[in-house]
């Protein structure tokens, strides 16, 4: 069954590749597999993402339950951990910034091994490095793609492009982020395949996005270095899509349709998958709340007054004992 968890998503991704190749070689399908697919995928992503976030937001946060990762705000002479255990909105914003932008919690990661009767805890940064490398290269690559969609190309995109390609290795120059994302995604995949603990918990839904992204990266690189596509035609297509006046130029290589098919699958799949951690991380009540429950009242919208054993019932139940023990009574 583990094999099925890996082979099934791999098969699906390969199927999409074949579909892209077929569509790419049939000019009549070019419009559908570029313009059509992209519009549909973005629409699904946009509305799906919003629907999911709205659905989460509909559930209230009845209790204030931050995971406190540092000294609480307490006595004035005790140094408190303003970011890891925030008691102010500013602190929460900083905590979220470090969490979202620098993966603070993952940075904390330790590995624990049992060696001759001792549990050894040692810091490990691999997962953090791979995750950070992957997410940032993905982000930069996505921004770089704006160059295709927006005319004139915004200054920051130009700049990013220059910095990313600064090493001028090869012609056309290979981007740093291209190498980085390839390494990181491969690393993340190898973890799942070979670390026993991670392999044990990995589902098809974990391999699928990795295979998809790997396919996207490889097809992108092939397009740039091996089966060169007509970049002018691609720009015309992308511009048309962005300006809602789509055109389908002729002569774009088949590999382009593979790339688009994979990207569109990823985008459309996004709102229905674990990839929604992108939205969820902002809404996690153990991270985005201040540790102020004793300082300020936090309301639970569905709170009901509790039915409890009242003092009067208690005294009625035990009056004789209490009297004998000399405990004060409300009623003799």
């Amino acid at each position: 069954m583990i094999a099925q968890r890996i082979i099934f998503p791999l098969g699906v991704v390969l199927g999409i590749v074949v579909l892209g190749l077929v569509a790419g070689s049939v000019p009549a399908l070019h419009g559908l597999f570029s313009v059509g697919l992209i519009y549909v995928a973005f629409a699904v992503f946009f509305f799906g993402f919003i629907a999911k976030v709205v659905n989460w937001a509909k559930s209230p946060v009845p209790f204030r339950i931050p995971t406190t990762a540092g000294q609480e705000f307490s006595l004035p002479w005790i140094k408190w951990s303003k970011i890891d255990n925030p008691s102010t909105t500013g602190g929460v914003i900083l905590r979220m910034f470090f969490e979202v932008c620098l993966f603070r919690s993952l940075f904390r990661n330790m590995r624990t091994d049992l060696r001759s009767g001792w549990l050894i805890h040692s810091p490990t940064k691999w997962l953090w490095l791979l995750a950070l490398g992957f997410h940032y290269s993905f982000l930069i690559i996505a921004i770089r793609h704006l160059r295709l969609f927006v005319q004139p190309v915004p200054g920051f995109v130009e700049l990013l492009d220059k910095v990313d390609g600064m090493f001028q290795i090869g012609i056309p120059p290979i981007y740093l982020t291209d190498i980085l994302i390839l390494l990181c995604v491969t690393g993340l995949l190898l973890r799942r395949l070979f670390l026993p603990k991670v392999r044990f918990i990995s589902l098809a839904a974990d391999y699928f996005p990795l295979f998809l992204i790997l396919g996207i990266v490889i097809s992108g690189l092939l397009m740039r270095f091996v089966f060169r596509v007509d970049i002018t035609a691609v720009k015309a297509l992308a511009n048309g899509i962005a300006s809602f006046h789509p055109v389908v130029p002729e002569g774009i290589g088949a590999i382009f349709f593979v790339h688009v098919a994979l990207v569109c699958t990823l985008i459309a799949y996004f709102p229905f998958s674990k990839l929604m951690h992108m939205g969820g991380v902002f809404m996690s009540p153990t991270r985005n709340l201040a540790n102020t429950t004793r300082m300020a009242y936090h309301e639970n919208p569905w709170r009901k007054p509790p039915k409890f054993h009242s003092y009067e019932e208690y005294e009625d139940m035990y009056r004789d004992y209490m009297k004998e023990a000399g405990l004060p009574l409300e009623r003799e």
């Binding site: 006595l75 330790m110 603990k197 839904a205 300020a296 003092y311 208690y314």
Partner: protein
């Protein structure tokens, strides 16, 4: 335990899970790991459903016909009530960061005790019963249907989680297994599948006011019994007030402190401290429980038990509430109480009557932790202390899970300990403060029948104690939790003999120089102080010389 295992045998742990799909690994419920089921009458007392006689080892658990609908309906309801639960069901990426953070996994090697796997037990049902992909693709989408076997598996592992939140600290999205366990336990409580070690204290607490079922006169007698000890060991007479109207402060502590060793010595510490500073306070026999096992059944049960504290504070007309040393009590007091039953506008913002310090961090809930209170007293020089009496102790501090990751109280206890004990050594950084390991028996799992589970879960904590024991000669494990005091002695005895467990207030009580005390030759447990033993030996020897 089915079979007594030696520590060496217990340590044969394989932390590498098998290659088999976890859904294909059947769950075998083992003696020594599971706890006995709740007795029907204990379920009925508090009006919870379907109290019945059953055994986890039987095929038939006596489930009601419609248990499945009840479970799924309950799950739907909780998804709508708790954003945490909904998000935690949706966004786990199974990165594995939490995998080796759980004391039960580290101590047992059972791969379903990896927090991510434990949560997946329920998450797979969520996917299989609530999401389209899971309904259509089934296992390929990581989904499965709720069957009796699945329920039994979920049940078994819900009681192998102590809600310590260590995994949540390392999770990049803050996914908190404690939330999943809390809600999971609510679900199985919908048809009477609690364990008795939780249910009986809940029933007791509901009626008598405390987990141990101490009746009003017994509660009073137990406290007075410690006063007799104090009279003998310290030489001062203390007459603690009970149910006294008009006191300034209501003091609430877990009933474990009133009942068993070594918690009762922590109680002696409280009594001495209050006497020392002349505190205007009262005990309550009605709100005689700070702990809250209701928290381990269902949140509304926790709310019902917790309600007594504010109700009693109101009846007695106190200004604010002081709370004793306890772990999960402080999770509830700090993060839930105000929301459950507050805001208590009839109380005043807590101010220390001795130092005038305003406890800003408790100004709405109006309940202050004894360690915050003591730290402030020491800082202002209001306590006369003789730390030399603790000189023979080499102390380390166990951060309890809940005051650590559900509150953040790290400096106060260390400050107090360092002021009353000359020798203090912290355990390695990755095992203390926010990264602390559970005692292994929290969240209602401190029963006797699951001793193997407790010892396994206690391994990571004990292992770190062993390290400072061997390196610095640490012989005392201090803590601010009644469950710790109840369970760590067994864990220490098994893993690190020669280490005693003591509440921080006990150490304070030993060091307190009381007005009118006689020469302190013994500690609060009546054990001779080695310093004094040496002194008497010296005088004995010199006596011989004279001869």
């Amino acid at each position: 335990m089915a079979k007594e295992l030696t520590p060496q045998e217990m340590l044969r742990i394989d932390l590498s899970p098998p290659t088999k799909d976890w859904m294909d690994i059947p769950t075998v419920i083992k003696p020594g790991i599971y706890c006995y089921p709740a007795k029907p009458e204990k379920v009925e007392i508090v009006g919870m459903p379907n109290g019945h006689v059953w055994s986890p080892l039987d095929d038939d658990w006596g489930l009601p016909e419609d248990w499945k609908e009840t479970f799924l309906e309950g799950m739907r309801e909780r998804l709508d009530k708790h954003r945490s639960f909904k998000i935690f069901m949706d966004i786990c990426v199974r990165c594995g960061a939490c995998a080796d953070k759980c004391h039960f996994f580290l101590g047992s090697g059972d791969p379903k005790n990896m927090p991510v796997a434990r949560a997946e037990l329920l998450r797979s049902v969520y996917r299989g019963e609530f999401t389209k992909a899971g309904k259509i693709l089934g296992r390929l989408a990581g989904g499965r249907k709720l069957t009796e076997d699945v329920l039994k598996e979920i049940w078994y592992y819900l009681f192998q989680c102590t809600e310590c939140r260590r995994c949540s600290l390392f999770c990049p999205y803050g996914i908190d297994t404690a939330e999943v366990t809390i809600i999971g336990r609510e679900l199985i409580n919908l048809f009477g599948l609690n364990i008795n070690w939780i249910q009986e204290p809940v029933a007791n607490c509901y009626e008598t006011g405390n987990h141990l079922g101490l009746l009003p006169h017994t509660f009073k007698q137990n406290v007075e019994f410690m006063c007799m000890d104090i009279e003998e060991f310290v030489g001062v007479t203390i007459e603690p007030p009970f149910n006294r109207k008009g006191a300034e402060i209501l003091f609430v502590t877990p009933s474990g402190d009133v009942f068993a060793e070594p918690g009762i010595y922590t109680l002696s510490g409280y009594l001495l401290l209050f006497e020392h500073i002349g505190l205007d306070y009262t005990w309550s026999t009605y709100a005689s429980e700070g702990g809250n096992f209701g928290f381990f059944t269902a949140l509304d049960m926790a709310q019902r038990l917790n309600a007594k504290i504010y109700a009693e504070a109101k009846r007695l007309g106190v200004k604010w509430i002081l709370g004793g040393e306890c772990g999960h009590m402080w999770r509830v007091v700090h993060q839930y109480m105000n929301t459950f039953n507050g805001p208590p506008d009839f109380l005043e913002e807590p101010v220390s009557p001795i130092t005038g310090t305003k406890f800003e961090n408790a100004k709405s809930a109006k309940m202050v932790h004894i360690t915050e209170f003591t730290a402030d007293l020491i800082k202002h020089g209001k306590l006369k202390l003789n730390p030399k009496r603790n000189e023979h102790l080499k102390v380390t501090f166990h951060d309890s899970c809940n005051p650590s990751r559900g509150m953040g109280m790290f400096e106060e206890p260390r400050y107090v300990i360092k002021n009353v004990c000359p020798n203090f050594y912290d355990m390695p950084e990755s095992t203390i403060r926010e990264q602390t390991f559970c005692c292994g028996s929290g969240a209602g799992l401190n029963a006797g029948e699951n001793m193997e589970l407790r010892l396994r879960g206690g391994l990571p904590r004990a292992n770190a104690v062993k390290y400072v024991h061997e390196r610095f000669g640490v012989n005392t494990l201090a803590c601010v939790c009644a469950i710790d005091r109840a369970v760590l002695p067994a864990s220490m005895e098994y893993w690190v003999p020669e280490v005693d467990v003591a509440g921080v207030s006990e150490l304070v009580g030993n060091a307190l120089v009381m007005e009118g005390e006689h020469e302190r030759t013994v500690d609060l447990r009546g054990r001779e102080l080695p310093q004094f033993a040496e002194a008497s030996q010296d005088s004995g020897e010199s006596g011989e010389e004279v001869k």
